[in-house]
């Protein structure tokens, strides 16, 4: 038995490291868990991208669930996400709200003109102050917010077809089932 002990120790380490490798392939190592999940979204009051004199607040958006998608023209991965959002966005059954993050309005408009605009509503946070309240630290990030203004799901990084199918759509289905 004591002869086997080093081998058992070795196998334990192999198991531990193997688990570590597996775990890291299952998770985005850079994604920070949001403490805001299942909590009311922070209050905000931001101008529309195309009509900067009109403000949109959290209260204005209550009553209908929406997907708040943080994007920017300088964000490379947003270009990866954009076609997915364009293709699948209309099938999601929730409003798509674009949150233009730390972007010059003209750059954002140019980017949307070039790649297409899948959003039902576009708001702009050029200084990035409100984004801090959402715990945003980059783009793209997406928040699923229900009719009562509660954050039901958050995804950091681009929404891929895989993420859509495995995470976002089930989250939307669960939300709609609860409060149709």
């Amino acid at each position: 038995m004591s002869r086997l002990l080093p081998f058992i120790g070795f196998m334990l380490l192999v198991g531990l490291f193997g688990f570590g490798i597996w775990w890291n392939t299952q998770h985005d190592q850079n994604a920070i868990p949001t403490p805001l999940l299942d909590k009311p979204a922070p209050a905000f009051n931001l101008p529309k991208l195309y009509e900067p004199t009109q403000m949109v607040s959290k209260v204005d958006l209550l009553g209908k669930p929406y997907l708040l998608n943080v994007f920017a023209s300088w964000c490379i991965e947003c270009g990866v996400e954009h076609p997915v959002l364009t293709a699948e966005g209309p099938t999601l059954g929730v409003q798509l709200v674009g949150y233009n993050y730390k972007d010059a309005p003209d750059d954002a408009k140019g980017w949307l003109a070039k790649h297409g605009n899948p959003y039902d509503l576009l708001i702009a946070d050029e200084p990035g102050r409100t984004a801090i309240d959402f715990g945003v630290y980059g783009a793209p990030e997406s928040f699923l917010i229900d009719a009562k203004g509660v954050i039901r799901y958050k995804h950091i990084g681009p929404l891929t077809p895989d993420v859509m199918a495995k995470e976002l759509k089930p989250a939307i289905a669960a939300m709609l089932k609860e409060a149709p």
């Binding site: 200084p127 102050r129 801090i132 959402f134 715990g135 945003v136 630290y137």
Partner: protein, 178 residues
Amino acid sequence: MRLGLRRSPLAGDAFALKNITTGASPASGLLRVIFIALLLCAGVAHAQAIEPMPFKDHAQELRFQQLTHQLRCPMCQNETLADSNAPIARDLRNQIFQMMQQGRSDEEIKQYLVARYSRFVLYDPPLTPGTWLLWFGPLLILLGGAGVVLVAIRKRSRTGTATEAPTDNGPIDNGDDW
């Protein structure tokens, strides 16, 4: 960008330097050289941090430096808020600065960030049920190792010193492995 910040701390440093160099007695030249080298190092360390901010006084600036060095940038996750050049780090530094002007305490500022970015932003993790393994894990491993060594020693003293060396080495090697 760096120049701006270097301004304030180095102004103080230069003043100290002048005092030393002018008022100095025939202190050894070597000492002076070392002192100047140290001052330059300090300047470099200060210069890492970022845009000039209109601090009320030096104490507030020091407090800001200290606090931002304890907080992790959520974007480039191996840098402190003080060191990072990421846009979000800049925004958070501004936010911290503004909260300081409003008279908020370090603890309140940390709470503010934790509420938005989770405890991840704290370099010094608080002791909670979720972190007890982190805090006491090393102690557990140490105790485990001590246990293994103890068992090995007992075994050896039970079998007696007369036993041949090869059988002795086995368990002791195990102890080393841990």
